[in-house]
Structure formats: structure tokens, C-alpha cells
């Protein structure tokens, strides 16, 4: 069956992936990933030269080998600490730590002489040792400010439980992304930091879209007795699943283009750094909004007295329905209990008939 039909059946609740009910599985998976990420972090990130200070020289010359460049660099610095690598596009990148104390002009001039490359074709970047720290510090500050603001915003626009769940999912995504960097040993550059920061917006964007549907689905939920909050949340999740997949695919496509094509053409660089972090983060963000944020939200909500009462009511009704079904006559005892005074919105009304038709099927969340 085509994706289209799956979309339809997901929407109607005919096909339902029980994300919320199986939260323990997702929590465990996330827990393991986060743990691994934490171990990776403990091992330390591979920081780029921007964080340590030093200079980077990029030379392009046909036939120039790493050995030649290394020799030249060693000669200039008088030591062998220079890090030489090819960038995949025929360029040779020489990193010299700031401990060497060779002025960039001198280095460029010497390099130009030794390698026979015009000095103005050598790109030089000199970075103070505190520059990366500065960027990270600011980024961290931005992160904290953003988290506070967005939590307040979500708490006002939605409710604090949603804000909390979204925040947990966000931290989860960041941890995973940074953890991957630590484990794989990708170099962390300011470009990477940009990538990390973008994940903030994106991860939340995704979560917000899901929560918006969940909020719609659960409006006036205490006035009925067919589904618990968790079930309604799971339905919302499934209804937005196609959208989530589509938006994630659509977001990943340009990023993948950046990563594989931009990076492929140029080798390591800002493009690659940003897109790599984004790629990991986007994937993590899509996963977490479905498998972490929503289940967590449902869990938090189920602790509310109203929701506990609702859960009991639903259970009682199902028992009654089952009994009635056994006896033969359908029973439709809807007790309009005034919960928070919100009238059932159009969503509720529209959904009810379909819900009635398949109440059982949905409640069990069969696949």
C-alpha cells in the first residue's frame, strides 16, 4: 500500500504506531544513546584550531605531497608539530599551533619560497587561542537564553509540561549530536557550533508541530470517556507522522546536498562543518519529537488528577462496553462531565464519529 494510504490510515487511527505506550523502549534506546554520547563527551571533543589557537595555511600546487609540505613546515617551525593534511580537492592544509610562535607573514613567505608557490596564493588564518572559547562561550550563553525564552514561550502558548518535554527533547538532541562528534572524532569548529545552535530551532520546530496537533486532539478531552490522554497524544503523533517524515526529509535534503556535494567539492570547511552537525541533529530532532517529547508529555499529563480520573473513566467505560457488547445492546453513555469548561471543539466533534466506529481498534494501538 502506498505511503498515501498509510497517511490516511494513520490519520484515521486505523494504523497506529504506539509510540506513547511503548515509551519504555524509546526511553531505553535514548538512554543508551545518551549514555554513549556522554561517554564520548567524557573522552573529549576533538577541538579545531579555532579553539586552541594557531595558524592554518592552505596551499594549492599540483603535485605537492603531504610529505613535501610537512618538510617545509618542519623547516620553518624547527619542529615537527605541524599538522599537514590534504583537503580532498588538491589543496594541502597546514596547521601550526600557536606554540610555534612563527609569525604568519614569515611562515607564508618561507612557505612560498620553499614550495615555489606565490605568497598571495597561500591562504593564511591566524587564530587567537581564545577565539574559539569566545565563540563557544557566546554560543553557550545564546543557548541558555534561548532555552529560557523558549521554555517561557511554550509554557505560555501551550503549557509547562509541553515546555518541559520539549526542553528535554532538545537537550537530548544536543547531547546526541555532540556525542557523535566526540565518538567519531569529527573536528569541532565554529562552523560546528553554528550547526549545533541551528539544531535548537529545528528540534523545537519539529516538537512544536507535533505538540500543536496533540493539543488540538486533547482539547476538551476530559469531557469524553473514550480515550485517555496518552491515547489521544499517540493519535496526534500518528496523524502528524507523515508530516514529520516529510518535513524531516525535506529539511535533510538540502543539508545532505550541502554535506555531500558542497563538502565533496571543497573538502573540509565551514560548509561541511555546519551541514554535518545539522544532519545528525535533524535526524535526532525528528526522532526525539516523536519518541521522547510526546511520550514524556503524555507521562507528565497522566500524573494530573483530571487525567487520572479520565483514565479510570475510560477503563470503566471499556469494561462496560465490553459487557454490553457481550449482552448485545450497544450502550452510549456519555457523561458530560465538565472538566475545565472548554467546549468540545470541532475536532472533537469531527473525530467522534470515526472514533465511535473504531474505539477498540484504536485503544489497543494495534499495528
Amino acid at each position: 500500500m502506498s505511503l498515501r494510504n498509510i497517511g490516511h490510515r494513520l490519520y484515521q487511527g486505523e494504523v497506529s504506531f504506539d509510540f506513547v505506550g511503548k515509551r519504555k523502549i524509546w526511553y531505553s534506546i535514548s538512554g543508551v544513546i545518551v549514555l554513549v554520547a556522554a561517554i564520548g563527551l567524557a573522552m573529549g571533543l576533538h577541538l579545531g584550531i579555532e579553539f586552541k589557537g594557531g595558524s592554518v595555511y592552505t596551499v594549492q600546487k599540483p603535485g605537492l605531497t603531504v610529505t613535501q609540505a610537512q618538510d617545509a613546515a618542519n623547516k620553518i617551525t624547527g619542529s615537527s608539530t605541524a599538522q599537514v593534511q590534504t583537503t580532498g580537492d588538491g589543496k594541502v592544509r597546514i596547521q601550526v599551533s600557536s606554540a610555534e610562535q612563527v609569525p604568519a607573514e614569515t611562515f607564508t613567505a618561507e612557505l612560498s619560497k620553499d614550495l615555489g608557490v606565490p605568497a598571495n596564493e597561500i591562504n593564511a588564518q591566524v587564530i587567537g587561542p581564545s577565539w574559539g572559547d569566545e565563540i563557544s562561550k557566546k554560543a553557550l550563553l545564546g543557548l541558555v537564553i534561548f532555552m529560557v525564552l523558549v521554555t517561557i514561550y511554550l509554557a505560555v502558548a501551550f503549557e509547562w509540561r509541553m515546555a518541559l518535554a520539549a526542553l528535554v527533547a532538545l537537550i537530548h538532541d544536543l547531547l546526541i549530536t555532540i556525542g557523535v562528534y566526540a565518538l567519531v572524532g569529527f573536528e569541532v569548529t565554529p562552523g560546528t557550533v553554528i550547526g549545533f545552535l541551528t539544531i535548537l530551532g529545528y528540534s523545537l520546530y519539529d516538537t512544536v508541530v507535533v505538540f500543536d496537533t496533540v493539543k488540538e486532539n486533547t482539547r476538551g478531552i476530559t469531557k469524553q470517556s473514550r480515550k485517555t490522554y496518552s491515547e489521544a497524544a499517540n493519535l496526534g503523533l500518528n496523524q502528524t507522522l507523515v508530516r514529520s517524515i516529510n518535513t524531516t526529509v525535506v529539511a535533510l535534503l538540502p543539508v545532505a546536498a550541502l554535506l555531500f556535494i558542497g563538502g565533496g567539492l571543497l573538502g573540509a570547511g565551514t560548509l561541511n562543518d555546519i551541514s554535518l552537525a545539522l544532519f545528525i541533529g535533524l535526524a535526532a530532532g525528528a526522532y526525539s519529537s516523536i519518541c521522547v517529547a510526546t511520550p514524556l508529555l503524555a507521562q507528565l499529563k497522566e500524573h494530573q488528577p483530571e487525567m487520572k480520573a479520565l483514565a479510570r473513566k475510560v477503563a470503566a467505560r471499556r469494561a462496560a462496553d465490553a459487557k454490553a457488547a457481550a449482552e448485545g445492546g450497544p450502550q452510549d453513555a456519555e457523561s458530560p462531565e465538565d472538566g475545565d469548561g472548554v467546549t468540545a471543539g470541532m475536532v472533537g466533534q469531527r473525530n467522534q464519529p470515526t472514533g465511535r466506529a473504531r474505539a477498540k481498534g484504536r485503544s489497543t494501538g494495534r499495528r
Binding site: 557566546k138 529539511a251 538540502p254 558542497g262
Partner: protein, 599 residues
């Protein structure tokens, strides 16, 4: 509920579309009219050098906006004063200044100049002496000091027997002559250039010229003491130990403006290093209002530097010159100290009031300009360190831009293909929306480049590419909502309207989150992060504009077309394919003829 929400029909989609298309066309027209057809490219794309300076200060309160702005102004003048055109200097974050020097010209010199982000002080000279050579060399420095073209010069210098341009740096006797020479002018404002500043053979009296260099070695008997002056006890040790000919010792000793200190100076003429004992700062370089090199036509006295002080500077200057004039040489000199290095040390004849002064002497035009430049722009209110210096050749920059554009284009094509496959007819809408978005983004970036100097750098390109996803995201949210409505059994026209309020809220909420992120990053962050945040914020805003004024109206219009309204299989809104169920309630008309349950 029974009456669908198409009260004012479905709005006035035509107007909204006309509005955004007019705005788009207008922006593009402005773009062409003003001749700014491409966005300004950042250094990393166009090639050039970018220097990031970070303010450092013991007093955190000193790093404030006004001081940063002053510094930017000074660096701006300094860089562009070097003849480098279009160099841009701007603050970034709280304590950074980015200097972007485009390709071409002498970049290295510019970078060095930018690095000279020194503090400029006027300090009284307590003592000076040559270093690095035996004491004998002492007076040698002086010849350069030919400050006094009058030539009368110093008897003291008689040592050489040469015609003696103001032989003694001490300038002791020399004082007399210049004053004489200037007598005819409004001399109250004259300072006389010192050894260092001079150097131009041309300026010195004919007799003096040749002697200059020659003098030095030939005066072994000259005692260092002659030039020394009195060094305060607490400074004595440091002064004695200082050897300016050793590179390592030539550093900025000005730790405290209120304390006496030592400094070095290089004399081009004699090729000697001098060391100075200097008193506490008398006038801060910030108090120099203006300085310019002018040619003294009246006296044919050659090039000189005129400077004027601010109000507070005038007072301090008057006080100090008054005190100095009364001193015996060499303590009647002022040292102009830039970055811990004495760039000039004219001597004072008398108290200079009125807030303006002239430094005259044997300047070449270049010397005078250089000194004026230092005086005008040398005084930065803060210390700066170079955090990051990046030089990108235009070739590499061009390649990066190309790679970015290729990546963006391919990303765009992938998104287009995906939406066409998945959304079919609706995919065309999203393509049109992306196109409008792209044109708007391009036009705004271009105009911002011309207007506020926004430069498209590599991270900004990344931001724009990432924004493709965000923009497409909003379409998907809306499309899915419409399809949900169609699944519910609503006819398309009603579905488009009914889906809108919910989709709108979702889009606004999520775009707000995105924008908040971009805004916080823009305000807080520095460097590359900022360019990225700017683009992201801009495109997020445009996303809202496009979805409200373009996508929604366009879909509203299209929903009236039979192709979409009847749910043509290729429209992406085929109720059958979407599995719409027949309407349950009476109020809703059923969509196209047959929409039975699938499966």
C-alpha cells in the same frame, strides 16, 4: 459548525497575491535601478582578509558600546587612511571588532596597521639615551633631530665640529634657534619636532644634511649623560637595564598611565634605538581632536603637523606645556607614545594654550602624514588583541561560493522533486512559493548589502540553504492539514479554508521558535554565527510572509479550479487517494462524486 467558515467567501486571495507580487517586482526593480544586482560578498567568498579584534580591559565596564564605537571609528579611519578602499569595520557582539579588508592593495600593511590598535599618550620626557651601542653613539641620534633648520644648532654638539644640525637631541641650545626662526608667526602654538620625527635631509639646513649620518660614529666622546636628564630613582633601574636594541625588550611598558615608565624609539636616520624615561601620562591621545599634515607655505618651513585638542585635552596640554617649557633639556620634551613606542618627541618652548599646536621640523610629507595619522587615529580607548586573522584568496572564495551555490541548487532540486512526487499538483505550488521566497531573499540580501553593508558570507549561504527546508516545511504543514480536511470528507474549497486557521497557528508557533533562536543567536553571538543567524532570521520572516501572502491565496485560487476542486489524481488532493470518507454530518456536502472508503 454546520455552516462552513467561508463567510466572506474565501477572502480576497487576488489582493494578497497582487500585493506580494508587486512588492517582489518593486524590490527587484529597486535592485536594478540602483545597480546593485548581486549581494555583497563577504571576505570568505570574495577573497580578502578578515581580522577580528577582541577588546581586552582590566575594567570590564570600559568595554561598552560607546568605547567600541569610538574604536571602530578610529580603526575605520586608520584602515581607509591607508588607501585601502572599501575596508569595512564593524562591531560584533559586545567586545569584537571585525575588520574586513577586500582583496587588492597591500593587505599585509593594512593588517599590521589594524594591529596597531594602540593607545596614544603624551608623556613628558624625563630622560633619554641611545641604547645598543656604546655610549659614544649618543649624540648621533641628534642629527636627525635637525629639528631646527635654522641651523644655529647646538654648541653642545660641537663635538662633531660639523655644521651641526641641532646636534643634541637634548635640544637644549637648539631651543633658542627655532624660536627665533618662528618668531614671525603665531608661535605660541609651536612644538618642535624631535630627532625621530625628522629624518628628512631635505628639511635640514643644507649644512646639516650630510653631517647627520656621519656624526654619529664620529663622536665617541659624547657622554651619554648629556642626553640623559634626571631619571627618578624608582625608574632608574629599569631605565638602566633597558636595551632597546634587543627586540625582546621593546615592549609596551605602559602598564599604568599614572606612573612613570620607559619606552623605546627607533631613529631611522641614525639607525639607532633610543630609550626614554617618561613621566606619567599628561595628555591622553583620545583628547586629540584632529591632526593633519600641512605644508607651511608662509615660512616655507616644510611639512608640519597641526593638531587640535578637545576641551579637556586643551587644558591638560596647556598645563603640561607650561610646566615643560620651564624645564631644562631634555626634560622640556613631550613624548608622543604609541603602543609603548615613542613616535615623536618634540620639545616645548612655552605654554601652549588655546587647544591647538603645531609640530614643526624637518618633516617629509610622508613623515608628517604618518605622525598626523598616528595622532588622529592612534588613540584607541581600549586594548585589542587579534583573535582571528583569515586571509582568503579570491580563488578559494570563489570556489566556496560555487560549491555553496551548487549544493543549494541540488538541495532545491531534491526538495522540488520530492514535493512533486509526493504532492503532485500541490508540489507546483510549493515550487512557486520557494521561487518567490528565493527571489525575495536574494533581492533583500542584495539591497541590505547596499543599504546596511550586509555581506553574504559562507555561513549565511548555509543559512539560506537550510532555509529551503524551513520554507518547504510550512507548505507541508498546510498541505497536510488540507489533506486531513479532505480525508474528513470536506470539499476542497471548504477544506482549504478550514485547514488554514490550524495550519496558520502551527506555522506561526514554529516559525516563532525558529525566529527566536535566530534572534537570540544574532544578538548574543559573534563571528560566523552571527551571519548565519541573520540569514536564518530573515528567511524565517520571509517564510511567514510567503505563506500568508502567497501560498495561502494561491491555493485558495487554485481550489476554485476544477483540476484541484474535483480532486484530479494529479492534483495531490484526490479524495479517493486520500481515503476520504463520505460526510457524516448533513452540513457538509460530499466532495466529488464518489469518495467511498478505501479498503
Amino acid at each position: 459548525m454546520a455552516t462552513p467558515k467561508s463567510r466572506p467567501r474565501d477572502g480576497y486571495p487576488g489582493r494578497a497575491l497582487a500585493l506580494i507580487l508587486t512588492v517582489t517586482v518593486a524590490l527587484v526593480a529597486v535592485m536594478f535601478a540602483t545597480g546593485h544586482k548581486t549581494p555583497r560578498l563577504g571576505i570568505d567568498l570574495a577573497g580578502g582578509t578578515s581580522v577580528t579584534l577582541t577588546a581586552k580591559s582590566d575594567d570590564p565596564a570600559a568595554i561598552n558600546k560607546s568605547n567600541m564605537d569610538i574604536a571602530v571609528g578610529i580603526i575605520q579611519k586608520r584602515v581607509n587612511g591607508m588607501g585601502v578602499s572599501e575596508a569595512e569595520v564593524q562591531t560584533q557582539g559586545d567586545n569584537n571588532i571585525i575588520v574586513n579588508i577586500p582583496d587588492g592593495g597591500d593587505q599585509q600593511e593594512s593588517i599590521n596597521k589594524v594591529g596597531d590598535t594602540a593607545k596614544l599618550y603624551f608623556r613628558p620626557v624625563l630622560a633619554l639615551a641611545p641604547t645598543g651601542v656604546q655610549a659614544n653613539a649618543t649624540p648621533s641620534g641628534s642629527p636627525s633631530g635637525s629639528a631646527t633648520p635654522s641651523g644655529a644648532a647646538s654648541p653642545t654638539a660641537a663635538a662633531t665640529g660639523a655644521a651641526a644640525p641641532a646636534a643634541s637631541p637634548s635640544g637644549a641650545k637648539a631651543t633658542a634657534s627655532p624660536s627665533a626662526s618662528k618668531a614671525g608667526r603665531a608661535v605660541s602654538d609651536a612644538l618642535l619636532a624631535d630627532p625621530t620625527a625628522s629624518g628628512s635631509p631635505a628639511a635640514s639646513a643644507p649644512a646639516a644634511t650630510p653631517s647627520a649620518a656621519a656624526t654619529a660614529p664620529s663622536t665617541p666622546d659624547m657622554s651619554a649623560a648629556l642626553t640623559q636628564g634626571t631619571v627618578p630613582a624608582d625608574l632608574q633601574k629599569q631605565f638602566a637595564a633597558l636595551d632597546c636594541s634587543v627586540a625582546g625588550q621593546r615592549q609596551d611598558y605602559q602598564t599604568d598611565p599614572a606612573k612613570a615608565t620607559v619606552a623605546c624609539s627607533y631613529d631611522d636616520e641614525s639607525g639607532l634605538w633610543y630609550k626614554f624615561a617618561l613621566g606619567p601620562v599628561a595628555v591622553n591621545g583620545q583628547d586629540v581632536d584632529k591632526a593633519q599634515a600641512v605644508y607651511d607655505t608662509q615660512q616655507a618651513g616644510g611639512w608640519q603637523v597641526q593638531l587640535s585638542f578637545t576641551d579637556s585635552g586643551s587644558q591638560a596640554f596647556a598645563d603640561t606645556t607650561g610646566a615643560l617649557a620651564a624645564q631644562a633639556p631634555p626634560a622640556n620634551q613631550f613624548a608622543i607614545v604609541l603602543d609603548g613606542k615613542v613616535v615623536s618627541h618634540p620639545y616645548v618652548q612655552q605654554s601652549i594654550t588655546g587647544g591647538s599646536a603645531v609640530i614643526s621640523g624637518s618633516f617629509t610629507q610622508a613623515d608628517a602624514k604618518s605622525l598626523a595619522n598616528v595622532l588622529s587615529y592612534g588613540a584607541l580607548p581600549l586594548d585589542f588583541t587579534k583573535s582571528d586573522v583569515t586571509t582568503v584568496s579570491p580563488q578559494l572564495g570563489g570556489e566556496q561560493l560555487k560549491a555553496g551555490l551548487v549544493a543549494g541548487l541540488i538541495g532545491l532540486i531534491l526538495v522540488v522533486v520530492y514535493s512533486l512526487i509526493y504532492y503532485r499538483g500541490l508540489g507546483l505550488v510549493s515550487i512557486a512559493g520557494l521561487a518567490v521566497s528565493a527571489v525575495l531573499t536574494y533581492a533583500i540580501m542584495t539591497l541590505l548589502g547596499a543599504g546596511i553593508g550586509f555581506a553574504l558570507n559562507l555561513p549565511a549561504v548555509c543559512g539560506a540553504i537550510v532555509a529551503i527546508g524551513i520554507t518547504a516545511d510550512s507548505f507541508i504543514v498546510y498541505f497536510e492539514r488540507i489533506r486531513d480536511e479532505v480525508r474528513e470528507g470536506a470539499p476542497l474549497r471548504a477544506a482549504v479554508q478550514r485547514a488554514w486557521p490550524r495550519a496558520r497557528r502551527t506555522i506561526l508557533v514554529s516559525d516563532f521558535v525558529s525566529f527566536l533562536c535566530a534572534a537570540v543567536l544574532y544578538v548574543v553571538s559573534v563571528g560566523k554565527v552571527q551571519g548565519f543567524a541573520f540569514t536564518l532570521g530573515l528567511t524565517t520572516l520571509l517564510d511567514v510572509v510567503v505563506i500568508f501572502l502567497f501560498t495561502k491565496p494561491l491555493i485558495t485560487l487554485l481550489a476554485r479550479r476544477p483540476f484541484f476542486a474535483n480532486g484530479h489524481p494529479w492534483s495531490g488532493l484526490d479524495p479517493k487517494r486520500l481515503g476520504a470518507r463520505p460526510p457524516i454530518r448533513g452540513g457538509r456536502r460530499r466532495p466529488s462524486s464518489a469518495a467511498p472508503k478505501e479498503a
